[in-house]
Symmetry: C2
Subunit: 124 residues, 2 copies
Amino acid sequence: MRGLILFAHGARAPGWAGPLHETVERVRAAQPGLPVRLAFLEFLTPTLEEAGDALVSQGCTLVEIVPLFLGAGGHVRKDLPARTAALQQRHPGVTWQLRPAVGESPRVIEAMALAALDPPPLLP
Amino acid sequence: MRGLILFAHGARAPGWAGPLHETVERVRAAQPGLPVRLAFLEFLTPTLEEAGDALVSQGCTLVEIVPLFLGAGGHVRKDLPARTAALQQRHPGVTWQLRPAVGESPRVIEAMALAALDPPPLLP
């Protein structure tokens, strides 16, 4: 069974993760049977490893890690490959696959451009 | 004349800003006459103030600052309002408007969910 971890940076500000939780809800709405977890690098929980263990406990044999980052910086290029390899060693019977940062998706780039062109709403 | 600043965090990794430059190109393709600049908080240039001065020199009288951030953390909630107010004082004849983070746009949330659901490409 395939599972997804949406991995985000995390922040102290309350509400920062709101759009990321909404992203998970959209994924669940699109594929109700697909196990999907949100995980964070810092400030918020669960960690990548906690989310990974949870998906394995759910019976996932393929876990794709999707970085919710706008670009491929050090976290995506260095930390995530190392932590993905560590998960592979920890759960050798499960295939762990690191995906590109969502910000590199043409879909997301197009959506950011359209959002930037929107008529200007004022911040609350 | 309206102008846009797409303001991103910045990172050391080469290529990190590629998707953000592509976002600016999509905006330019959609509205060729609209002055738009990319600016960064750290590691990359120009700064917000340099981009703002450049748009004023181009004749912009309304500058919208669009945070290319996934959520509203400290940079978007605290730093950007203060720096937007400083730009307003520095260029009182220009209207400076801070927009919500693009990550809060339903369009971007939907695009991130679809990108997460894509069949898994391997990282290069």
